[in-house]
Symmetry: C2
Subunit: 301 residues, 2 copies
């Protein structure tokens, strides 16, 4: 997977910081997660082809997570898009987008497929043989979902040196990766287990923004590879975090620790802080493997 | 007047160009004219205090002229605004903004005063002793208004040297500027016309975007100081201009010539052109005093 942070600040876009939006790439598919104002500017700055986006996931209907969507949809139209666009987001998103387009008499020349969400339990949004996507119900001031992305690892790793030494024909390699035994030119069978390493685990990315400290999500995100968790505030503003149903850096780290995730990425920083280093140090009091998001930063995992 | 171009490109924001938005300052009042996506970013880059904006004028409901408005309104709320905000725009704008805020349960803590426009003739939107604002009905694919701003010059220019020579008391100066005669210490009257130059003309700025070539506006904008006129296309795309109800640079210049304006500013450039110099040269075949808008550029007049 490749994660590109387009914007990782709370509230409003400013001169040098953008609100929530990110691109997750899984096997050539670019998923857009949230779409704050200016997302299309950031997509261009980060060199992401707009036409590569087929699925957009909106966590909730606060402006800093979806006010960039009407503009992006309009731009797709201007670029001559013909393939459908799938939008997953809270109930109401269809009415909002439809009204904004209708007022400008600007219907799209491609299909908009809205998938409006109301469920309070995790549901599967999308699945094929390469990946699956699920909601992570969060606890914020309005109805909000995070999203869990699984990249399926269907292929075993071929032990190429052994296969070549045994003179197994290369045409068999794909079949062996999928679990077949090898066949020598004399007809002898080589067991698959001697030619491959076990199938690696699926790679799992969990996006959790916006939410207060909410341990109910732990079962869903348990042992995921990467957890992106909002941390709007530092410790000294914990009262404000409670009141606005946001999290502190330390609370995000506590979720990461309890869920035993491999790595935590912090984001959704309040613009009141000039120095973000304290987010990392406060989180690391609880959980060690912490990185801070920043606009334009790319993570590979 | 001081005009700051925040964005002057058509269609969608890109890495380095923003859609329509500009700030016109008249005597300390900042008027925001159109509000494409990213306007709040540009306001900050141009050092304009957000709280100084009390009136927003939206020409029409295509995204590149108003998709920045919901975000700006939300940011005003986050900044703790308490004074009312006046929004002038086509019918439907209230429903759109209200819905976007309602979905996020994000009511403003200040008053939003919507002035929805439906008139097909020019109407007065605003007037006080310093300025007045009128609509300029345009001809585009959907209902569209330009806006005419008049800065009133209420004071005559005092001939200070003469007044001082005559030993007229300085406490009379403001009255003389407003038209009163001067009084000497011996009671003699000095006629106002001997102490002042005639009142200068009002300064007039006309904003015309988006529109096809539409000579009906000429009476309204006649002899204005500055005309900002859209010029989405160059000559070679005149068919496209006709079909989409936009103007070419030469058509904008023809309007400027017929209306005998002092200066023409071209803007709303299609992003298909890498070099904008042709806009100026094609316009200057018809009308000489032409400047090109660019994002961040400031004009004083």
């Amino acid at each position: 997977m490749k994660l590109t942070i387009l914007g990782c600040f709370s509230a409003s876009p400013s001169k040098n910081s953008f609100p929530s939006a990110q691109i997750l790439e899984i096997g050539g598919n670019n998923f857009l997660i949230d779409c704050g104002e200016g997302t299309q500017i950031q997509l261009r700055r980060c060199g992401i082809k707009l036409n590569s986006i087929e699925h957009i996931f909106i966590s909730h209907l606060h402006g800093d997570h979806f006010f960039g969507l009407p503009g992006l949809i309009s731009t797709f139209r201007l670029l001559g898009r013909s393939k459908p666009l799938n939008i997953y987001g809270p109930k109401g998103i269809k009415q909002a987008i439809t009204l904004m387009l209708k007022l400008g008499d600007s219907w799209t020349n491609y299909e908009l497929r809205f998938n409006e969400l109301e469920d309070l339990k995790s549901i599967k949004l999308l699945e094929n043989n390469k990946f699956s996507v699920y909601t992570i119900p969060l606890n914020h001031r309005i109805y909000t979902n995070g999203f869990l992305f699984k990249e399926k690892k269907n292929e075993k790793k071929l032990l190429v040196d052994i296969a070549l030494k045994l003179k197994i024909d290369k045409t068999q390699f794909n079949g062996i990766k999928m679990g077949k035994d090898g066949v020598l030119s004399n007809g002898d069978i080589i067991k698959n287990s001697k030619l491959t390493e076990p199938k690696p685990n699926d790679i799992i990315y969990a996006y959790c923004s916006d939410t207060c400290y909410y341990p109910k999500i732990i079962d869903l995100i348990n042992e995921c590879d990467i957890l992106y968790h909002e941390s709007t505030f530092l410790d000294k503003h914990i009262e404000l975090a409670n009141r606005t149903k946001h999290s502190t850096a330390k609370q995000a780290a506590e979720i990461a620790r309890l869920a035993n995730v491999k790595k935590l990425i912090l984001g959704h920083f309040s613009s009141r802080y000039n120095n973000l280093n304290d987010f990392q140090s406060q989180a690391q009091e609880v959980f060690n493997n912490v990185e801070l998001a920043s606009d334009g930063k790319v993570f590979y995992f």
